[in-house]
Assembly symmetry: C2
Homo-oligomer: 411 residues x 2
Amino acid sequence: MKKIAVLGYGVVGSGVVELFYRNQKKIEKNTGTELEIGYILDLREFPDDPYGDHVVHDIQVILDDPEVGYVAECMGGVNPAFDFVRRCLEAGKSVATSNKQLVAEKGDILLQVAKAHHVNFFFEASVGGAIPIIRPLHTCLAANDISAVAGILNGTTNFILEKMFCDKMRFDDALALAQKLGYAERDPSADIDGGDACRKICILSSLVFGKHVYPEQVYTKGIRNITLEDVQLAQDFGGAVKLIGAVKRLESGKILPTVMPMVVMNESLISHVNGVFNAVMVWGDGVDKTMFYGRGAGKLPTASAVLGDLIDEVKQTDTVESQSWEPAEEGADFVAPIDDFFAARCYRTSPCGSGVFAKIADEVGVKLLNTRENGCMISGCDQKTAEAFKQKLAKEGVEILSRIPVLDDEA
Amino acid sequence: MKKIAVLGYGVVGSGVVELFYRNQKKIEKNTGTELEIGYILDLREFPDDPYGDHVVHDIQVILDDPEVGYVAECMGGVNPAFDFVRRCLEAGKSVATSNKQLVAEKGDILLQVAKAHHVNFFFEASVGGAIPIIRPLHTCLAANDISAVAGILNGTTNFILEKMFCDKMRFDDALALAQKLGYAERDPSADIDGGDACRKICILSSLVFGKHVYPEQVYTKGIRNITLEDVQLAQDFGGAVKLIGAVKRLESGKILPTVMPMVVMNESLISHVNGVFNAVMVWGDGVDKTMFYGRGAGKLPTASAVLGDLIDEVKQTDTVESQSWEPAEEGADFVAPIDDFFAARCYRTSPCGSGVFAKIADEVGVKLLNTRENGCMISGCDQKTAEAFKQKLAKEGVEILSRIPVLDDEA
C-alpha cells in the first residue's frame, strides 16, 4: 500500500480526493498498486469533511512518512509551493501539480531535482486543465519534429469573446457576465491581460523546444482592448477573434512564443471552440496537425489530470526524461524578438474605399485578401511591413482603429 | 544499439522508415537508446530504394536476430500478420501495429501473448491514424470512469459527407470525387458501408470497457443511402450528417457499440470536423468531455503513431497492463442489442403539416424539437418509440423517406 498526499484542500485538491475515492478500484487496477489518500495539507481544519481527519498542517509529517510515494500539489502560487515540492522530490516522492505558475517559473529547477532523486515531477493539469496534452506531446508525438503549437489556453477570455461574437455583447458586459457566472475573478486581469495564457505557453514552449521559457520572455497582449466592432469585422471576414497562446520555431532556429488576440478563420477547427473550453493545436512533420480539446479548468476536470499524472508516476520506475527540459542559458537568445513575428493581419479603420487598401497593399508588397468599408485583411507579412501599411493608411487620412493578426492554420 | 524491424514496405511501412531516419536523433534522445532500422520484411525487392538492402523475405531472419527488440507491423490484414506478430511477441520482441483489422479481430489473443512474454503490443495507429487517442485513454484519462466514446473514425466518408454538405454534391458524385482524389478505393465498400469505422469502434470499446468486442457484435450502417436531401434537412435543423462510431455504457451495465450516420448539431465541436480528418470525443466523470482531432490516415501521420508506440516500447521495462483487455466471455451478453439504442431522431418525410408531427409526437410521448415541411426532429427515445412514431406517420399517409439519429453531445 502506498499513500498519496494532497497539498492544498481548495477546489482542485478536494476534487483530487473526491475523484480518487470515486474511482479508487479502477485506479488501483490500472496501477496494480493499493493506494489511499494519506494526508491532506492545509492551514485550515475541515471538521465536517468526510476526509477531515486526513488534514495536517505541517509538510514535515508528509516528508517523514516513507509510505507517502506520491504528492498532488494543488496549492497554487510559487510560495510555499516551490519549497514544498522541492522537499517532496528530495525526499523521493513523485509530485503531480496543477500549478501553472510554479511550472512556468520554476519548472526547470524542479525537473532537475526530480531527476537527481529518480522520481517524477508531472504537470499535465497545468495546461488545458483536463485536456491530455503534455503526455501526448512527449510520447504519442515523440517521432515528430514539432514546429508550432497554438491554442485557446484560457477559458474565461474564450467565454467573453464568444459572448461578443454570438450575442453581440460589448466587452464590459461580457466580462460582467463572466464574473457573475464565476468564470472570471473580481480582479480579472490575470485572465483578460493574458498572464494566465502566458504561463501555459511557457510550459508548452519549454517542453516542445527543450529549454525553459520564462513568462517575461513571452510577448503578451490580452483582450482588454478588443471591441465588438473588431469581433464583427472578423466575423465579416469569415473568422472569429480568439485569445491565442502560440509558439513557433522560426527559420532562424529561434522560437517565438506569443499571447495575443488573433483572428481564427472558420476553416480552422479552433475557431469553433466556444465557451470556457480550451484547445491546443500541434503541428509536426509526421502528424501534420492535431488538436486536443476539453475543459480548461474546474474541480473534477483538473483533478482528472492530476490523478492521471499520479497514476503514471506509480507505474514509473525512474524519471521520465522525455518529459523535461534544460534550464535557459544565461543571456541566450533562444527566444526571438516580436519584430520577427509574421502573420496576415486585419485592420479596422475609419471608412475607406477598397481602392485605397489595394493601392497601399500593392505598395508594401502584400496581397489584399478581403475588404469592408471599415477595414481590410492583408496577407502574411512581418511587423515592419504591417507597420508600413498602417503608416501609409494614416497618410491617406485613414484612422487605424485596431490591428489584429490572423492565425495561420498551416503553421 | 537495438534494431527495429518493419513488416510490410507499403505506404505505412515506408513512412515509418522515412520518419524514423528524418528524426532519428530526436527519437534516440527521447528513448535514451541507439536505434536503427534492422530489417524490412516484404515479398518484393526494392533495388532502387535507399533502404532496399534492409529488405528480407523471411520472417525467421527477424525472429532469429536477438538485436531486434521492436517490430512495426504495417502489412494489414489478418493473415499472415497475426502469425508473424504472435511469433515476434513470443520471441520477446515488442510490436507496434497500424493494422486495425488485426487488433479488432485478434487483439485479445495478442495482448495475452505479449503479457506472457513481458513485452508490449501497441496499436495507437489503428484508430484515428495520427491522433493520440489510445495512450491518453489509459494514461491521462485513467482516473475517469469513461461512459461513452463517439467519433468520426473514417476520413473517406467524412470527405464525402462534407462535399454533400458544403458543395451540395450528390452522394455518387462526392464518392466519385473521393475516388479521383485517392481518398476512396475503387471498391469503396469498406469505407462507405462502415466496416472500417466498425473495426475502430471495436478497438476503442475493448480498451475502454475492458472486454474484447468483435466486429460482428457492432450494429453497423454506412452512408450509402444518405441523400443530399437528408444532409440538407439536417442543415436546416442546425446540424450536419456524420458517420459516427460510438459506444456507450447503458444503465443496464451493458455497452452498445454502433456505427451509423448521425446528425451532429452545430453546437458540438465534432460537427465542424471536415475533410479527411478524424476526431474522437470521450466522456468521463472527471473530464466531462474531451476531443482528439487529426489526420485519420496517410503515410507520415500513420507512421507518426507507429513510431510513437515504438518509442514508448523502448522505454518500457515490462508489459503495460493498463493498455489491454480481457477476451470476450463465451456467450456473454456484455454487448446490448440495438433495441436498447436511445437517441433523438430526424425524420425526412413527404410534405406534411407540423400539426401532424406535433400530434403524433404527443401520442408517443416525445417532444417535437423542430419541423420543416419535409421532416421533423423529435427528442430522445428508444427504438420502439421511434418505430411507433414512424408507423403513426404512415397511418396519416405520410411517407418516411429516412430516419437518422442525433448524436447526444452530453452523452
